[in-house]
Amino acid sequence: MSEKITFRELVELIAEQSKQSQSSANSFIGELVQLIENGLRQSGSVTISGFGKFELRWMNERPGVNPQTGEKITIPGQNKVVFKPYKALREDVNRPYAKMEAKVLSPDTTKPDPDTDSDRPQKEKIEREEKEPNDVPQDEDKAPPTPIVLTNQEETPPEDIEELLIERPVPKKKESIPGFGELKVEKFEDNLIEALFSEPKEEEEEKKAVPVSTASPTEKPGSSAVKEVQKKGAMNWTWAAAAFLVIAAIIILMLLIRPAEDPTEVASDEPTEQLAAPADQALRALPEPAEPDPKPVPDPDPGEDIPADISPFDIEPITVQQGQSLWSIAEANMGNPYLWPVIFDLNRETLDNPNLVPVFAELTVPVIQDPENMTPDQLELVALGYLSVYEWMAENNPDEARYYLWAVGVFSADVLSGTENQVNQDDWIFANTR
């Protein structure tokens, strides 16, 4: 537990620090408080440099229960005063914990897997900026004995963390994309969960089976994933790759069955663990049927065919303010942060790097009337935006590029199928498999 200092002590400290009298420090704080209140009333937010920002946030009315009578009531909408600490304050306050860093877990256990200990420092470098790996918390019990401060009132949850997450420019793929990708994402997660928990043994065996077949010249998504696993050696990658493999093998098999009737009896009677090898051989023999949708591929180069001036969006110019990212601009101007790639695509001349937006840059930003119900044209533009980001990522961060290609498919399957011959085949298969 920590002590609290009284306001009197605070005034003394401030007076001492600023070499002013206590009474002037006292009245100064009084004026400051008054101004914060007025500022909140007038503009809804007050900024104190180096400290934080006070904001009014409107809470909509919501159902509640009177704790004394158990009666259901409606809590009327009202303003809430929130305080967002700035980075300097956050870092100061968090200093005792600053050395600790995130740790990757194998997906089905809370405890770290001892087998992967030797590889962990390598992985952590990928996860976070370089810090000493010594202080990694094993679990709650080993948290350092720094005084834990309890709050008496629970009305102000720690807004700052959520704000931080929201302001990241890169979308978090795990979350469903509002209004668009929900079904797909959930389906994928179900598959993954199913794969992780219901058939771990089969996956183990299949994993062993696949490296044998990597001698095949055909690039198979599973084999490259397995190589990655071997490189990084982390348990969780293995699981993910194994799950991915199962899904990929099943889909390839199903597609093979359709055009070529012959392998049907063979394949359907094989137990799961031997699927990978026949599928691989068949893939080498018949590369064409492996396409999930054998369209004539009529789409011309999708990057260029829609010029900005006839886009289905209305365009509005904006100037980037300090602290804004494409993510936050999309959230503010387009109503959905996941639409940020459109801005990137429209401003390709200005922006070299979607993660670095120059302050005061002039950008054209589309205006969307109803981000929940976008027209097919708009969805296609969003998909082209993601494609543009994918191309950038493919050059600069190839490991993560495939997630953006996947997002292309979330917004428009047509655009994705048109890219087949222009993108890395592994990435394309990844995007289609999900």
């Binding site: 180096g50 303003n79 005063v81 834990i148």
Partner: protein
């Protein structure tokens, strides 16, 4: 209200120059930050209470690695507005709505 607007109004209200005001406010902020960094709470009448709180280890999903991660404990600042401030601002509209 931006920081410079705050300084302007504070200078006007306290009859100090802007640079004095800026310095004074900077001192006040650094004292507050020091106290919070030490883990002690600070109450300011009519404004509210600043406290710190340790967020426990969290387990989150990292989609890029298809794996769960442990996020280390973290000490964060909590602010509870005073009841008088809450009441006064309850139904005034900021223009950020």
């Amino acid at each position: 209200m931006t920081y410079s607007e705050l300084i302007d109004k504070l200078a006007e209200a306290t009859g100090r120059s802007k640079s004095e005001t800026r310095e004074f406010l900077g001192d006040a902020v650094s004292v507050l930050s020091d106290q919070l960094s030490k883990g002690s709470g600070v109450s300011i009448p009519d404004l509210g209470t600043f406290t710190t709180r340790v967020k426990d280890v969290q387990k989150v999903y990292n989609p890029h690695h298809d794996a769960y991660m442990l996020i280390p404990p973290k000490r964060v600042v909590d602010f509870s507005p005073s009841s008088s401030l809450k009441e006064k601002l309850k139904f005034t509209g900021g223009d950020n709505e």
